[in-house]
């Protein structure tokens, strides 16, 4: 093998010996963790069904997969939950939190009647106006979120002030923010 290749190989040898491994976390893993945590920061109406938390995912395979991993690995103290992968935007199928992926067209879902208190979460570039209650935004390589109180009120959900204080932006009917 000629000199060039030998040189390259020894260089690679040196480099691999020197560097440290780093755990990398992906966007979908962080979003999955958020979705799970949002449940505790929302006051659900008394009419909420008596059943364990169900998180529905539409058109976001990676987040669904990460949620499934999370649901299997929770320790006893945390509350268990179910992950439901939804096929189309026609059904909400008894979910408490609904995550709608970037590519999905979910106009129908987001304008659903107030009878179903679902916490809708999106990851849209254009932001909240899409009709969801929480929208993920990536700011400086970190996942943050914005909240629409107007939408929350429409479906009878109260968002805890703690969560509001952590949001990047809160949209209210009365105050233009």
């Amino acid at each position: 093998m000629n000199r060039v290749a030998k040189l390259l190989c020894s260089l690679l040898l040196l480099l691999s010996g020197l560097v440290q491994a780093e755990t990398e976390l992906s966007e979908s893993q962080i979003k999955a963790a958020y979705l799970y945590k949002f449940f505790a920061y929302v006051e659900w109406p008394a009419t909420r069904r008596q059943a364990p938390l169900a998180i529905g995912v539409l058109d976001a395979d990676e987040v669904a997969a990460d949620l499934e991993i999370l649901s299997r690995e929770l320790i006893a103290n945390d509350y268990p939950f179910q992950v439901k992968r939804l096929r189309s935007d026609a059904i909400t199928d008894q979910v408490d939190i609904l995550f709608i992926g970037k590519a999905a067209m979910a106009k129908k879902l987001l304008s659903s009647p107030a009878a179903m208190p679902v916490l809708t979460v999106t990851e849209r570039n254009e932001g909240l106006p899409s009709g969801s209650i929480i929208n993920f935004v990536v700011v400086d390589q970190r996942i943050r979120f914005e909240i629409s109180l107007t939408q929350a009120k429409r479906v009878n959900l109260n968002v805890s002030s703690r969560l509001l204080s952590l949001a990047l932006r809160v949209e209210r009917e009365d105050l233009q923010q």
Partner: protein, 656 residues
């Protein structure tokens, strides 16, 4: 030899040859792996792959403070692909100021790209490069563009609006089972952006020492979900190249192309309809100009199924007309239908199956110089394939696949593949693959007669059989940290029944399959991003070829360098400027001899306004001219065509 006997012999000879090959040529190429392998483990000794479930213990504030890596889905898929694959992105093409597809292909370190003349390129992977290089499968949006006339690509007829290319996947290695016959040494898969991603108007103009280009594109959306269309037109005027003595090679050429694409989505279904039509004229020294034209129309339906399943049905028609006065004239009409079905993934198992049928109606008008006999010939290819993929919890994956193809020259061919890959840790991925690939005969192999009328000096290849390549590949991809990534792929390919020119007792020649070969090599790639906005890439290709049998002098198996090195630096100066520098070194070409050369290209980009961008490119800056290729015999070997130093300016303007 009966068929059953042939298969048994094939198996035994394969095992036999692999063993000999191992001792003779494998060890030097295995050395890097043996040396570096222990370090994969060292970097991870004691560190277990951390499950991200610990995130549930963090508070919401903490979640908002974690920096994430934004690895795209495609990039993720590529890191775990058990293949030597390089992706030329839309962004890379834009920054390279490439004026044509072959120039864009120079960006791939695993391709050999050599310019022969103003309109002609020799492009191949893993050796066998020639002006009739025939071991590469090239697809544009799923449409096969290698010609059944000689199994190669007429690069002057493959124009695409480069600004609307989504990506070019260059896979070196046998792609038989999934892609088909002709994917012997590699596959180049060019995909354009869907119409909904190319909305608005774009004007592109480029001018300089090599020629001029003007392109216009109009894209709009259609009522409905994700529905769009685009129309484009492109004209090129290429200037003649120079010969070694400074005189003109008189190979200037013009081309014009029009095309459209429309896509629309309905629930889980996506439909596409696209087509192009082109025409070009190529000057020739002391001879009448060449004229070529063609068109194609393609329609595709993709449906998303449960659990990552997918169904794709595609149909296209294609016409290619070539007219080279004094040599040949040809019209080839092709109709192709393809189906691919990926079943839902279950417990780490996935099945993919598919099939296709292609018919080509070829009409050759022969000349005194050469003839394709019979002049009119109907060609067909049918194929059925299946692939099984299973992932085990320890991140080990096996892939088993096989394709069965038929063609009217040789009947049934089997192309099997077996791969095993192991994600050792989040940083290291290794794979081993073994495959059998086949180059089915083309008209040139079976039906070529020289001269055009009897008595013939070359009388076709009645018994021509498919060329076979048995390849063993060992690859390793590693990413020690976020800034550094590199891979090494070692390959050992045994070729059998390579095309040879055989002499018959009467003094006549026929085309046969007397040559066997062994090509071993190494493909390496390194990517390093020292700071945000500056990235470095190094690519290496090493080739070691040996042949036996037949008359090698009469039947050259490509003209390839022993090594090729690519180095590139991409620097994003600020939001409006970038500076890319690319250097390549290509070793000597042996027969006919071409001296080794170095070439340096520089590209400076300037975004004048958010919708107008300028790219100034300087190519081959180190020498006023150099030669990149030579093939055949006598063809101007004493006064060859040179590739000259050039400067050009490209302007892209986008507006509603």
């Amino acid at each position: 030899m009966t068929r059953a006997c042939a298969k048994c012999k094939l198996c035994c000879s394969l095992i036999d040859s692999l063993w000999t090959v191992f001792w003779r040529s494998v060890y030097p190429y295995l050395k890097p792996f043996i040396l570096l392998f222990p370090f994969c483990f060292c970097a991870n000794l004691g560190a277990q792959e951390r499950r991200f479930a610990f995130l549930s213990d963090l508070s919401i504030e903490d979640l908002g403070n974690i920096r994430v890596t934004s690895v795209s889905k495609n990039a993720e898929r590529l890191r775990q692909a058990p293949a030597s694959i390089y992706v030329i992105t839309h962004e890379a093409i834009r920054r390279s100021g490439a004026q044509s597809l072959p120039e864009a292909l120079r960006l791939a370190p695993n391709l050999l790209v050599a310019q022969i003349s103003a309109n002609n390129y020799a492009i191949s992977a893993r050796g066998f490069n020639s002006n009739t290089a025939n071991k590469l499968l090239v697809l544009i949006d799923g449409r096969t563009v290698y010609t059944p006339l000689y199994s190669g690509v007429f690069w002057d007829a493959q124009d695409v609006l480069l600004q609307d290319i989504d990506r070019i996947e260059v896979i070196s290695g046998a792609g038989g089972a999934l892609w088909g016959a002709n994917a012997v040494n590699g596959v180049i898969n060019i995909t354009t952006l869907s119409a909904s991603k190319t909305l608005g108007n774009m004007v592109f103009a480029q001018g300089g020492d090599r020629g001029r280009t003007l392109a216009l594109r109009h894209g709009g959306s259609l009522p409905g979900q994700n529905a769009g269309y685009r129309l484009y037109g492109k004209v090129n005027q290429w200037l003649a190249s120079a010969l070694a003595d400074g005189s003109s090679a008189e190979d200037a050429w013009d081309s014009a192309q029009l095309g459209f694409r429309t896509d629309w989505r309905q629930g889980d279904n996506v439909f596409s309809l696209q087509g192009d039509t082109y025409s070009n004229r190529i000057d020739r020294l002391n001879r009448d100009e060449q004229q070529n034209s063609g068109f194609n129309l393609l329609t595709r339906w993709t449906r998303r199924l449960a659990g990552r399943g997918k169904l794709k049905v595609q149909f296209y028609v294609d016409q290619v007309r070539r007219d080279t006065p004094g040599t040949y004239k040809d019209r080839m009409n092709t109709v192709d239908v393809d189906v691919q079905h990926s079943l839902a993934e279950k417990n780490g198992r996935q099945w993919i199956w598919g099939g296709g049928y292609r018919i080509a109606d070829d009409h050759a008008s022969n000349s005194a110089a050469l003839a394709f006999l019979p002049a009119d010939q109907e060609l067909y290819w049918g194929n059925l394939f299946t692939q099984y993929q299973q992932t085990f919890s320890s991140k080990v994956q096996i892939v088993l696949g096989a394709k069965v193809e038929t063609n009217q020259y040789t009947g049934v061919e089997l192309l099997p593949v077996a791969k095993v890959s192991w994600q050792l840790s989040t940083q290291n991925f290794i794979w081993l693959s073994a495959s059998r690939s086949v180059r089915a005969p083309s008209r040139l192999d079976a039906d070529l007669y020289i001269p055009g009328t009897a008595p013939y000096a070359l009388a076709g290849g009645d018994d021509f059989r498919s060329e076979i390549a048995n390849t063993l590949e060992l690859g390793w991809r590693t990413s020690p940290n976020k800034k550094l990534r590199y891979s090494l792929v070692s390959f050992f390919s045994q070729y059998k029944y390579l095309r040879s020119v055989d002499s018959l007792p009467g003094g006549q020649y026929v085309l046969g399959n007397q040559i066997d070969g062994q090509v071993n090599g190494l493909e390496g790639e390194l990517n390093y991003q020292p700071i945000d906005g500056w990235s470095l890439m190094a690519g290496l290709l090493l080739l070691d070829k040996s042949f036996s049998g037949g008359n090698i002098q009469l039947s050259p198996q490509g003209n390839d360098p022993r090594a090729q090195v690519l180095l590139s630096s991409k620097w994003k100066i600020n939001e409006h400027h970038f500076l890319d520098v690319r250097w390549r070194h290509v070793e000597d070409l042996p027969e006919p001899a071409v001296t080794a050369y170095d070439a340096l290209d520089m590209h400076f980009g300037w975004k004048l306004t958010p919708s107008v961008e300028l790219v100034v490119s300087g190519r081959n800056l180190l020498d006023p001219y150099h030669q990149e290729f030579a093939s055949g015999s006598g063809a101007r070997l004493d006064n060859p065509i040179q590739v000259e130093r050039s400067l050009d300016l490209a302007i892209t303007a986008r507006f509603k």
